[in-house]
Amino acid sequence: MIIPLRYNLRSLFVRRATTAATAIGIALVVFVLSSALMLSEGVRRTLGSAGKADVAIVLRKGSSAELESGVEDPQVALVKAMPGVRRAGAEPAGSGEVVVVIALEKLGASGVTNVGVRGVLEAAFTLRPDVRVVAGRRAAPGADEAMVGIRLRGRMKGLDLGQSFELKKNRPVQVVGVFDDGGSAHESEVWVDREVLRSSFGREGSVSSVRVRLDSPASFEAFRANVEQDKRLGLMAQRETAYYEKQSEGTSLFISVLGSLVAFFFSLGAMIGAMNTMYASIANRQREIGTMRALGFSRTSILFCFLVEAVLLSLAGGALGAVLSLAMGSVRFSMINFASFSEVVFRFEPTPQILAVSLVVSMAMGVLGGFLPAVRAARTSPLAAMRG
């Protein structure tokens, strides 16, 4: 009952110029869509992976990011002393950090961009065991030295080993090391000694955020209740994982929505292209189709046959688009993260799901674009076999 697949495959091959043109249109859609999804996934992984389940971050109440938040030094001590915070010997495991944004000149492109600078003490490293120095060394406490995240290295003027940049006007800082952190957003930051940062920005006496390591992830609720109970503190606590998820949400959503929208409008064009191709090809095959009807093939099998042909066509395009987008896997993409107003470098992260979505979308385009032409084919009268 089913017309063999090779009939469709060869029919597509015989019309290879139009087949290729149509498939390329579909490939473009799939390329845009899957690249956007890969980038969105990259954002989610980069921003999301900075968080640890047993770490809590404390910010000024009402602030959505470290950059907007301020916590006075005495409050830092209070937070660190709260029950539920793990102790290494006598000292509670906590890190008060300052985050600022500075403008630096881009390399290889004109203009300046925002770079996030984090002022840290030794405790920052204890809380983030994944941070590794991959070149040079850590900045010495109290020295005008900096470590740059590996993703920023060499992307801005002065941000490479041995170079220096201006933390503030007339306050040059030398880059003495490069670090990585398992792909997290910290890799797009510059780390300097906290006191150096505070003195150069006149921020003595306060920090942006306090991070503490909890006894266990389960201790968080009790810790939060304690922090937020004291209204005079005016602080709030979040799990670090939740904080970074929220940071990535907006950007990641924005990219997938924007990418999907662009892909959607492209897909209208590609679908109309596929529809036209199928219409033309069916019009050229009236006698062939009429002959199949005369031989006894039902309307349903003709409909199915041409739907399959449209789907084969769009799958070819989809596969091409998916392969092209996989090539994006090696591309780094830098953009301003909305939450921190600083430039973060992302990768396109291919996942099996994204590949599956791409192929399903291209199949859907084939079915949608091919349906009306297939209906027309199915309505071909067997008498068409007799006509010239």
Partner: protein, 232 residues
């Protein structure tokens, strides 16, 4: 394939009072008017007549491609004039072999794949399909052209592939609309000889529309249509 059994006197096609009207721009055109016709099983008959006399229309009705406006068509004991479209398609796939003026092979399929096509509508298994298609191609003398595409064949060879496709389901009836219309004399003669053999050796009933008196001469009986009626 069945061999000829002596049933020459038996009527295979029985047509009574068949009329076909076409509506054209609000006007009704009577293409066939109250036709009666009997065709015996195993006979090779020709249908002649001027252009527009309704030959193709009548052949289409007999082949179950279209339905008459009124009248009855009985083939091999089965009334096909009131069958619905789906039932007709199924009936065609089991009972009728088609031979067209322009061969109507699928250009993207090889000779043997073209011949296999009608077998896809039957429960015959894939390996058996291929065997039957090869046998049919051998019958039409194209054993050495199995994997050629239609464009690699001459017109006469294409028409013989089409004949193989028509006989592969072992139909009771072969219909041919000007099967030699696009062929040179020699190829036309070959095709007519082949049709004659199919009739004599395999007992196929053949109904052929033709403009060519030489072709009609090969048939055992010729019916003349004129303006939708048979001429006495």
């Amino acid at each position: 394939m069945t061999t000829n059994v002596d049933r020459t006197a038996e009527v295979l096609i029985r047509i009574r009072g068949v009329t076909k009207d076409y509506a054209r721009g609000g006007e009704v055109v009577k293409v066939l008017e109250a036709l009666d016709l009997d065709v015996n099983r195993g006979s090779f008959e020709a249908l002649m007549g001027p252009s527009g006399s309704g030959k193709t229309t009548l052949l289409n009705l007999i082949a179950g491609l279209d339905s008459p406006t009124s009248g009855t068509i009985e083939i091999d004991g089965q009334r096909i004039d009131r069958m619905g479209e789906g039932a007709l398609a199924k009936w065609r796939s089991n009972h009728v072999g088609f031979i067209f003026q322009s061969y109507n092979l699928m250009p993207v399929l090889t000779a043997v794949e073209n011949v296999e096509l009608p077998l896809l509508l039957t429960p015959v298994r894939a390996s058996e399909r291929r065997k039957r298609a090869e046998t049919a191609l051998r019958v039409v003398g194209l054993a050495d052209r199995m994997s050629h595409y239609p464009r690699q064949l001459s017109g006469g060879q294409e028409q013989r592939v089409a004949i193989a496709r028509a006989i592969v389901i072992d139909p009771v009836l072969l219909v041919a609309d000007e099967p030699t219309g696009d062929l040179d004399r020699q190829s036309a003669d070959d095709v007519l000889t082949l049709l004659d053999r199919l009739c004599k050796e395999m007992g196929k009933t053949i109904l052929m529309v033709t403009h060519d008196p030489a072709a009609a001469d090969r048939a055992s009986l010729t019916h003349h249509l004129d303006k939708g009626r048979f001429r006495a």
